[in-house]
Structures are given as C-alpha cells and as structure tokens.
C-alpha cells in the first residue's frame, strides 16, 4: 500500500493537471452552450497553442512573453476558423447543420494536424520551461511548470466566469444558452455571439496547450488525447456548463492520477471511460446538468 505522502502526491498531481483539463473543457462547454457547436478541432487548436508557444519561446521571445501572446493568437485563430467555416451552422441556412458541423470540424482537425506535419515535421519537441525545477515540500516533488499551469488555468477560467457573469457579452451568451430564438427576437446578434464564443474557446485551448507544453512533449498528434479528454470533461461536468467543465476537469485529473497511482497504471483511459459511464448512469446530465442552459 502506498504511503500517505505518495497518495497525497497523486492527489496534488491530479488536481494540478485537472486544472488545465478544466481550461480545455471550459472552452468546449462555453461554445456548446452558446452556439450548440461541438468543435472536434478543439484538440488540434490545443496543439497549435503548444507549437506556437514552442516556436515563440525558442526563437525570439521569452517563455513568459510567448505564453501571454498565445492567448490573443488563439483568439485570432478561432476567428479565422469561425467566419469562413462555421457561420453556415449558426446562420441557420443549412438543412442539416449538425452533420455539417461534425464533418467540417473533423476535417479541420485532420487538416491542421497534417499542416503541422508538413510545415513543422513530425518530430517530438520539448518546449522550454516557464520555471525550471521542482518544488519540494512535505515530501512532495512537484514541477514548477505544473503549478504555473494550474494557476494560469485558474486565472483564465476565473476571468471567463467573471465575463459570463458581469459583462454585456456574458449576458448575451447566457441569453443564447437559455433561449436562442428568444434572444434573436430581442435583437441579439447570434452570429457575433457565436463568433466570440468560438474565438474565446480557441484562446482557452491554445492557452491550455501552452501551459501543458513544457510538461508534455509535443508532436502533431498531441491534440488527439486532448480532445478526447475535453469531451469526457463536458460529459462529466454537463454539456454547456463552464462550472461543470471545471469540476469535470478536476475530477478527471484526480481519478486518472489516483487510478494510475494506486491501481493498475496502464489503464489511464479506462479510468476516464469508467468515470464517464458512472456519471452517465447516475447523473445523466452531468454533475452540473441542471445548469446546462445557463453557460
């Protein structure tokens, strides 16, 4: 049986990585809540964030500056993707918008991954750390990058929550989540609100990529597992709920760390699937299911 210190270390590691998972899930969830778009390219946008951080941090900028620039870059990437490709979904001009949305976002994910391979190569890369070394306290060894990633994710999710709660765009998003038709009737621009949600979700994904990049080596397919985790998080937390995504991310990180640490370590994905099944069985709408219409 592992010692109390070891179990504590698994818990801390799980929560820290869960915080960054939450950042991934919050973007996906916001987007679905506001525009009903399930973005299958969210993982590759995460990968773009990791690559952008790597190239900026190893060429002309310091890692910290690169980290700060990744967020507006993600916003710009999201805008560039949304306007030409996803407006037909929110414009209501398609007979089968959901089919289009699934096909176009999957195609986009494949195209981005192949684009990374063609332009950057398929080699594994290691981005520089934000803060080198580990923090050692109470017998625990925690990489400083994990702590920075968690704090950064918490700040961004907190900012998102403030925006949703206290700003005019937040009110628009909540209105769109509660009653899209009613929101349009009172003059809310559906396209604009969906674009902002997509761009913000993309910014959060690129930020998550940048936070995790120094911890996980990067390669073109690094977004594949990220998107799987992203969807698992919104299933666990409840579709369309930012707070649900936060709880889902933290829960997933914790379950994965404790499962691999205390039980069989080679079943990380199985623990994730088991958690999803349990949630679907006992709380079918997710942990924050009741608030699914409230963002």
């Amino acid at each position: 049986m592992p010692s109390a210190t070891t179990i504590l270390q698994f818990i801390v590691l799980g929560l820290l990585v869960g915080g960054v998972y939450a950042l991934m899930g919050a973007g996906l969830s916001l987007l679905y809540g506001v525009s009903r778009i399930l973005n299958f390219a969210h993982g590759t946008i995460f990968a773009l964030g990791a690559y952008a951080y790597y190239y900026m941090a190893t060429t002309i900028l310091s890692p910290w500056l690169a980290l700060f620039l990744v967020v507006p870059l993600g916003f710009a990437i999201g805008s560039l993707i949304y306007w030409p490709l996803l407006t037909p979904v929110t414009r209501g001009s398609l007979q089968r918008p959901n089919d289009y949305m699934i096909v176009i976002t999957i195609a986009l994910a494949v195209a981005i991954e192949k684009g990374i391979i063609l332009t950057q190569g398929a080699e594994t890369l290691r981005p520089p750390s934000l803060i080198e070394g580990s923090l050692n306290f109470a017998g625990l060894d925690i990489a400083m990058d994990r702590i920075v990633g968690f704090i950064g994710a918490a700040v961004l999710v907190g900012l998102l929550a403030l925006v949703v709660r206290f700003t005019s765009i937040g009110r628009v998003w909540r209105a769109m989540a509660q009653n899209p038709l009613g929101a349009e009737v009172v003059g809310i621009d559906r396209q604009r609100s969906a674009w902002l949600a997509f761009a913000v979700a993309s910014a959060l994904a690129t930020a998550a990529g940048a936070f995790l990049a120094p911890l996980l080596l990067i390669y073109p397919a690094v977004g594949t597992s990220a998107i799987v985790k992203g969807f698992a998080i919104i299933v666990i937390g409840g579709l369309g709920s930012v707070w649900g995504a936060c709880l889902g991310g933290l829960t997933l990180g914790l379950v994965e760390a404790l499962g691999t640490g205390l039980f069989y370590p080679g079943l990380r994905d199985v623990y994730m699937v088991a958690l999803m099944l349990l949630v679907l069985l006992f709380v079918p709408n997710g942990l924050f299911g009741e608030r699914v219409r409230n963002v």
Partner: protein, 395 residues
C-alpha cells in the same frame, strides 16, 4: 516504280532494324528488378525520426547496390507508411504484395506492426526480413518466410540480466509501454533474471501507448521498497523521453539510474528533449566501442558519414544488413520468386555490418534468427555527449 518500291522496302527494313537494335541493346544491358517493399513509420504517431532515417538507409543501399554492374538484379524500394500501427501495417503489407508486386519486404519497425504483418506474408509466402522489432514472437511464431537480422527481447534481457548480476545490482525497476515490445521485454527480463539466478527485486510499471504523463508510474517506482537502483525504460514512443524528464521531476533520478531504450540516446534530438535529465544515461547497444567493426561495417560507416549529416546507429546497421540479406539472396537464387528467395535467405551467409548475416534454423525464437549480434551497455556521461563519446560500461 520498282526502284521506288525497293527503296521503300529498304527503308522499312532499316526502320525495323533500328527498332530492333534500339530495343535489344538496352535489354541486353538492362537488369532484372528486385522490388523490395519497406514498412516504415513515416507519420505520427509512429517514430517518424527513426522512420526517415531508415528510409534513407535502404535508399542509400539501393543506390550503392545498383552502381555495381556485376549484379543481376537492380534493387527498387517501395516505401509505405505504417505509423507504427498494427492495422495500418497489415494493410500496407497487403498493398505492397498485391498492388506494388514487391518480391520481398523489410520491416516493420514497431513489434506490434511487424506481428500484424506476419499473417499477410504467411498467406502469400513473400519473404519478410525484420531488423528492429524485438518481440520474440516475430521469429518464435515460426512463419516460414520471416527472418530477423536484429536482436530480440529475450537475448537483450539475457545480456542485461548478466550485467546486473555481475554489477551486483539488487533492485531493478522496469517502465514499459503496453505493446508487444514493452510487455515482451518485462516478461523476457523476468525469465532471464531467473535463469541468471538473480535474487534481487524487480518492480514493473507499464503505460498506455498514447500516454502523455508517466509521473504516477515513476512515483510508484521511486517509492518501491527497496527503491530500484536501475530502471529500464522499454519504449519507442514519445513517452520514452517523457520518462527520463519526469523521472528527474519526481526525484527518481539521479539516485536511481535510467537505462533507456536502445539507440534513443544516440538520436540527434535526444538532448533537445531530455536536456539535463539525460546526464549519465545508460543504454543497451549493438555497436560496441570495444568490438572491432567488420569490414562491411567500416565501409558502411564511411559511406554513411559522407552522405548524411549524422552518425549511424544500431537500427541503421540492422536495416542495411536486412537489405544485404535480401539482395544477396536474390543473386544466389537467380530468381525473385518468393519460394526461391525464402530458400536462399535460409541458407544465406554473407558479411554484414556488425557480424555475418546468417540465420539459424533452430526452434522457437531462434528460427530464422540471426544470432551473432554483440550486445553491450554504454553510458553518456555529460549533457550533449554524442555516441562517439559513449563509455562502454559492460562487458
């Protein structure tokens, strides 16, 4: 009129003669083609870095071989991407045989990919020469047309077990990917340790092939009682670098030594990936500083260094030898028919880069297995050290 007809007849005959000569002369000098299919990881999630290097190796072999006018066959390479995935490898092997009409196959790289291709080559009887898949099953399954020039898990495990026994190491950890290669190594090492009467502890941890974090496994190794003195990392996936980096993060190293997967520390991006965490890394190798290179090996080294920007590594040697085996087999058989090539490969005995290339006909893992392969343990003392600075730790 008659004269004009005669002239026309002469013109036609002359034209026909020109055509005949034009066709026959090149045919008299044209070589028959030996088409060799290659199963390689050329895109993610496969080990692309290695895949590109191996493709360069066999292309270089074809260039050099085809320069020699005395050979009957011209070697042509048909490369295909497996992504190191089993299903992809099986499909690629089928396509190479049925659509590209290859006479022999080299590869695959990952054990799981090679094992998936075996039923295909068994069905068509096409020879497959493997160079870099370690799973014992590649040869122990006894597929008549399958040969291996490279090492195998239980052989490497035997040598490593001898090393730890002689070095009086009493606690071992193994961190392995959950593939035929990784799990096969755990099993082979436990067997080998038993054979060597190793009395110490062996703690094993595995991780999923797509793992992006192995800290839980490393923490369990760190907190094992007794703590491992040495941890073998058995992986060809991106996680092999992650394991070294995260071992330092969780405080497993430097107190515990890491023995990395075979040629990984010799790859050009090794230090970029692991940085200071790689200091003092050990690894098993088949290019041993204390073993004199063969004549073929020395010539190959010169050629490789003159044509590429980086030094050769073990996989490159083995893939070169797999091409040597196939090309010489075709020359000796004077045929590229599968059955003739298989018979010639079974009897082949030619000099290779690290030893002679010849295959045993024994049972089990030694069936169609090249066995004369030197094994040693090397160490890179300092950050940035390249293979030529490696210190031979054992034997």
């Amino acid at each position: 009129m008659t004269g004009r007809k005669s002239l026309r007849r002469v013109q036609i005959l002359g034209f026909a003669a020109m055509l005949t000569v034009g066709y026959a002369v090149p045919c008299a000098f044209a070589k028959d083609v030996l088409r060799v299919g290659a199963l390689l990881p050329l895109s993610a999630p496969g080990d692309v870095e290695t895949g590109k290097k191996l493709l360069r190796t066999i292309e270089l072999f074809a260039e050099e071989w085809n320069k020699n006018a005395s050979f009957r066959y011209e070697v042509k390479i048909v490369a295909t991407d497996t992504q190191d995935k089993p299903q992809q490898a099986a499909t690629a092997a089928e396509r190479l045989i049925t659509q590209d009409g290859v006479h022999a196959i080299v590869g695959a790289h990952a054990s799981s990919a090679t094992l998936a291709a075996l039923p295909v080559v068994r069905r068509y009887g096409v020879p497959l020469v493997n160079a870099s898949s370690w799973a014992d099953e590649v040869t122990s399954l006894g597929v008549p047309s399958v040969f291996r020039v490279g090492p195998w898990n239980s052989r490497v495990a035997d040598e490593l077990a001898r090393w730890i026994t002689e070095a009086k190491i009493t606690s071992i950890g193994i961190l392995a990917e959950d593939t035929d290669y990784g799990l096969g190594f755990i099993s082979a090492f436990k067997d080998a340790a038993g054979t060597q009467s190793y009395k110490g502890s062996i703690v094993t941890q595995s991780f999923e092939a797509n793992a992006t974090d192995v800290t839980p496994q490393l923490i369990r190794l760190r907190d094992a009682n007794p703590r491992p003195q040495v941890v073998f990392v058995s992986s060809v996936l991106p996680a092999r670098a992650l394991a070294i980096v995260q071992a330092r993060e969780v405080g497993l190293t430097p107190q515990t030594e890491i023995v990395a997967g075979w040629n990984f520390p010799e790859q050009k991006n090794f230090w970029d990936l692991v940085k200071v965490a790689g200091r003092g890394i050990k690894y098993a190798n088949f290019s041993c500083p204390k073993v004199e290179p063969t004549t073929v090996g020395a010539e190959f080294n010169k050629l490789w260094e003159s044509r590429t920007a980086f030094g050769p590594d073990q996989r490159v040697y083995m893939w070169w030898d797999s091409m040597l085996a196939i090309a010489h087999a075709a020359e000796q058989a004077k045929s590229v028919k599968p059955e003739a090539l298989v018979a010639a490969l079974a009897a082949i005995d030619v000099p290779g880069t690290v030893s002679r290339v010849k295959f045993e006909s024994g049972r089990g893992v030694r069936f169609h297995q090249r066995t004369e392969i030197p094994v040693c343990v090397l160490k890179l003392e300092n950050v940035g050290d390249t293979a030529d600075k490696a210190v031979q730790v054992w034997p």
